[in-house]
């Protein structure tokens, strides 16, 4: 009988990480890239919670605390990215990371 172990959770997290990398590589829309980053952050957070459950010293919650900070910082980062994006959009009407690229000469 199959018992769910640490490894299963780590594999799920690795799949999320891989999907996140795939999104970042393949998408050009800045908001979509941000969604890819959220997948990566969730992969890391899932790792932390799973390690906290299965591999950390008994009674400590370091992994879960780290996850709380990941969620807080992800919210802050998304707010900044969207604020800058909105400002750029008001100037240029584009959210495409390739089109927002006028500086190279």
């Amino acid at each position: 009988m199959l018992e769910v172990s640490l490894q299963h959770y780590l594999l799920v997290a690795a799949l999320l990480f891989a999907a996140g990398v795939g999104v970042i590589i393949s998408r050009r829309n800045a908001i979509a890239v941000l969604c890819g980053v959220e997948l990566i952050l969730n992969a890391a957070a899932l790792n932390f919670v799973a390690f906290n459950r299965y591999a950390a010293p008994a009674g400590r919650l370091d992994g879960q605390v780290f996850t709380i900070f990941i969620i807080i910082l992800a919210a802050a980062e998304a707010a900044i990215a969207l604020a800058i994006l909105l400002n750029l959009f008001q100037q240029t009407n584009t959210v495409d990371v390739d089109e927002a690229d006028t500086m190279k000469e």
């Binding site: 009988m1 199959l2 769910v4 640490l6 490894q7 299963h8 959770y9 780590l10 799920v12 799949l15 999320l16 891989a18 999907a19 990398v21 795939g22 999104v23 590589i25 393949s26 998408r27 050009r28 829309n29 908001i31 979509a32 969604c35 890819g36 959220e38 997948l39 969730n42 957070a45 919670v49 390690f51 906290n52 459950r53 299965y54 591999a55 950390a56 919650l61 879960q64 605390v65 996850t67 709380i68 900070f69 969620i71 807080i72 992800a74 919210a75 802050a76 998304a78 707010a79 900044i80 969207l82 604020a83 994006l85 909105l86 400002n87 959009f89 008001q90 959210v95 390739d98 089109e99």
Partner: protein, 174 residues
């Protein structure tokens, strides 16, 4: 059958987390990307609860799904002329195949480490009891410094983002 409830729940939630994650790579347009992300985040929230992290599961729903994802949807609404079509750009169309191939490579490397080598487990520790009290205590004792600092961070990020997204006065008058 010898399969217990926890195992079934794990596989159900894992599918809810992973399949939408790959749909984020494949989805046609930016609105669908956001909604597939929503599904994936719900799956992860379920996995947290399965892992005994009840507080985190709820935080995930409240902050991630209720906050960040709504923020992303607002961003899409305010910046897309035609959100249902991601248009081709000078550098070529988006390339889901490249994304999938890269993702597969990354996963292969990680899986080799996770399955091939494995991580040490100390069996039968923590889990079961509610974590909220314990987390609150830890945040105000061991982790009090980062906890207080992150409030300073949120303060200036809030002000900075508001400053950045606010319409310029000269525009408003014009």
């Amino acid at each position: 059958m010898d399969i217990d409830f926890g195992t079934i729940m794990f596989f159900a939630l894992a599918i809810v987390a992973v399949v939408p994650a790959f749909m984020v790579v494949l989805a046609r347009d930016i609105v669908r990307v956001a909604f597939w992300l929503l599904a994936s985040l719900c799956g992860v929230a379920g996995l947290y609860i399965l892992l005994g992290a009840d507080f985190l599961g709820l935080t995930q729903v409240l902050v991630y799904i209720g906050g960040i994802l709504v923020l992303i949807l607002f961003g899409i609404m305010m910046t897309s002329k035609d959100p249902l079509h991601e248009k081709a750009t000078a550098s070529g169309k988006r390339s889901p195949v490249t994304g999938l191939v890269t993702g597969a490579l990354v996963f292969a490397v990680l899986a080799a480490v996770i399955v091939g080598v494995g991580f040490e487990e100390n069996k039968g520790v923590s889990g079961g009891e509610p974590t909220t009290t314990k987390l609150g205590e830890v945040l105000l004792t061991d982790y009090v410094l980062p906890f207080e600092l992150v409030s300073v961070l949120l303060l200036f990020v809030l002000c900075g983002a508001a400053y950045m997204a606010r319409r310029r006065r000269e525009d408003a008058h014009a």
